[in-house]
């Protein structure tokens, strides 16, 4: 007869969602893992090796060394966000999200499973890009714990942001609008390619309102030991940003917005 619902039920349920997500990511690796490696290789070749030589120094170091943390973070952000939007919206669109909605799993476990899947892809891509970067700029590590924690927190935050996008999305166009018109400008202007001090007056103040700037700089501190912003402020902003997105995601899922009639 039917299984009794317990913590073990939830643990098995969480594992199942994660296994399913990881299997999907690895099965379609030419779509999930390969493209960011190729794109980032091009960034390193063009902006690092070719243009970077003429740029000279940025933030007191070689330009190619400066952009490596930002480009790893760019990959982590876009892959965490993109994985969950395509996977969860795909499940919604194909109606197989109903398999989860009629199961005993509570919203928190469903959310945890999907976010973990997105974090897996983001970190896998991050590591692969890091390996590619090492060929161009060598391997640098100033503080392992800051580097890893910032990588993880950023991946979680943007997975949650992608989840909210997927919840509200009605059609496939809806999951590409935010990444194209919001996420990409925020990332490019978030200190990936330059120090915030280069921005003129008001633009610098506006840039300081961009949470990605804090993530990129804290991660750069972890790798290279330099940052445009206070490390504590960066952690406060990333954790606050993630917590707000977590509460919003869970509330939407509990209410069944876009999922239950």
């Amino acid at each position: 007869m039917s299984e009794k619902v317990s913590a073990k039920t939830y643990w098995i349920g969480y594992q199942t969602i994660l296994i399913k997500e990881v299997t999907r990511i690895l099965r379609i690796w030419p779509q999930t893992l390969l493209p960011p490696m190729i794109t980032m290789s091009l960034y390193f070749v063009i902006f690092g090796a070719i243009i970077g030589r003429r740029v000279g120094e940025m933030g007191g170091m070689n330009y190619i060394d400066f952009i490596v943390p930002g480009l790893i973070m760019l990959s982590v952000i876009t892959n965490a966000y993109g994985n969950i939007t395509s996977s969860f919206f795909g499940a919604k669109f194909g109606k197989h999200v109903e398999e989860l909605l009629v199961s005993p799993l509570p919203p928190s476990i469903i959310l945890a499973g999907y976010v973990s899947g997105a974090v897996f892809r983001a970190l896998t891509v991050g590591v692969l890009v890091w390996i590619v970067a090492a060929f161009f700029a060598g391997f640098h590590m100033h503080n392992l714990w800051i580097t890893l924690s910032m990588l993880l927190l950023t991946a979680v935050a943007f997975a949650l942001a992608g989840f909210i996008n997927a919840i509200y999305a009605q059609k496939f166009d809806d999951i590409s609008i935010i990444p194209t018109f919001v996420l990409q400008p925020m990332t490019y202007l978030g200190g990936v390619f330059f120090t915030v001090g280069l921005l003129p007056g008001i633009a610098e103040q506006i840039a300081l309102g961009n949470p990605i700037l804090y993530m990129v700089n804290a991660f750069r501190y972890g790798m290279l030991g330099v940052s445009d912003v206070s490390l504590w402020l960066a952690y406060a902003i990333v954790i606050g940003f993630g917590a707000a997105l977590f509460i919003a995601s869970l509330t939407l899922l509990k209410r069944g917005v876009g999922l239950r009639t």
Binding site: E3, T16, E99, R260
Partner: protein, 308 residues
């Protein structure tokens, strides 16, 4: 204990459409229960609320005494749902679909794999277990939905038109499987458009129309309400006109087939005497199978064509 207990269930959609107008329903544990109704009557909304896919406007649904609204997780663990539309990931393999579904219900992976093999074999899908499910035929997809719904061995199985669009041979094999499940102790609730299906399989029945239960009784009692029984007679030689017998409605379906509607109080001997007088020889005779359909049409005041 009742497998399902529904009290004062109402549902009004945001558009203002009223789907359920206050449903009260009980389904006993172990029952094989049919839920019938024309399109748009509220059957799928009712199933949606019980399986937590639809939020009720008011009222309560309890599964084995557990409120779906208050203790969703516990209530859902008792239910297996076969939806009307195919809703699995068509890029996944049937085996994986069932194993993953087991995981969502807390079935350990090794146990889920054993059960997936058992149910896929039972439903003649084992040879397709490791092919992408999009390559399955319509009937196979429907059987996969049934196999998936059984992986956590629910105490209540809800089937929303499980045999729609399935050919008769596969439909009958699905009936056998569902009957076996019911005989093993699982309560089954079935919605169907094939009224013959409900008549053959189910013990109790509720007919829902316009968001309300218009009949809730046993199939036998419901059929007893039918005062007239219809027989189909295959005759040996073609005739041009049906014989006239007092108190019976006899008409020609085609030159070789007669259809006779006879009040239950009347004996069949009168019919045969009249046929004898007319020199009509009968090759075979059978009861017309759609007795329930006649009642259904009468109860919901609906044209037969719209139901089919």
């Amino acid at each position: 204990m009742n497998a399902l207990e529904i009290r004062g269930l109402k549902k009004t959609y945001k558009s203002g459409a009223i789907a359920l107008r206050g449903i009260d329903l009980e389904v006993a544990e172990g029952d094989f229960f049919a839920l019938l109704g024309p399109n748009g009557a509220g059957k799928s909304t009712l199933i949606g609320i019980v399986s937590s896919l639809v939020n009720a406007t008011s009222g309560e649904a309890k599964v084995f005494g557990t409120s779906v609204q208050e203790h969703r997780s516990q209530a859902m663990a008792e239910i297996g749902l076969v939806p009307q539309e195919v809703n699995f990931n068509q890029f996944e393999k049937p085996f994986d679909i069932i194993v993953n579904q087991g995981g969502y219900y807390g079935v350990p992976r090794n146990v889920a794999k054993e059960r997936a093999e058992y149910y896929l074999k039972k439903l003649s899908l084992w040879d397709k277990a490791f092919r992408p499910s999009r390559t399955l035929s319509g009937g196979m997809k429907r059987r996969l939905l049934i196999a998936r719904s059984m992986v956590h061995q629910p105490r209540l199985l809800i089937l929303d038109e499980p045999t729609a669009g399935v050919d008769i041979e596969i439909r009958r094999s699905m009936w056998r499987f569902i009957s076996e499940i019911n005989e093993a102790g699982t309560t089954v609730i079935l919605t169907t458009h094939y009224l013959e299906e409900a008549e053959q399989l189910c013990r109790n029945i509720a007919i829902i129309d316009n968001g309300q239960i218009v009949e809730n009784t046993s199939v036998k009692r419901l059929l007893d309400k039918l005062q007239v029984e219809t027989f189909v007679l295959d005759i040996c030689e073609p005739i041009e006109q049906a014989p006239v017998v007092e108190g019976m409605d006899i008409h020609l379906r085609d030159p070789m087939t007669l259809e006779a509607s006879i009040p239950k109080a009347q004996r069949l001997n009168g019919l045969f005497r009249a046929l004898e007088v007319e020199g009509i020889e009968v090759k075979s005779m059978r009861n017309k199978a759609n007795r329930l359909e006649e009642l259904f049409v009468r109860l919901v005041g609906f044209d037969k064509e719209q139901v089919a």
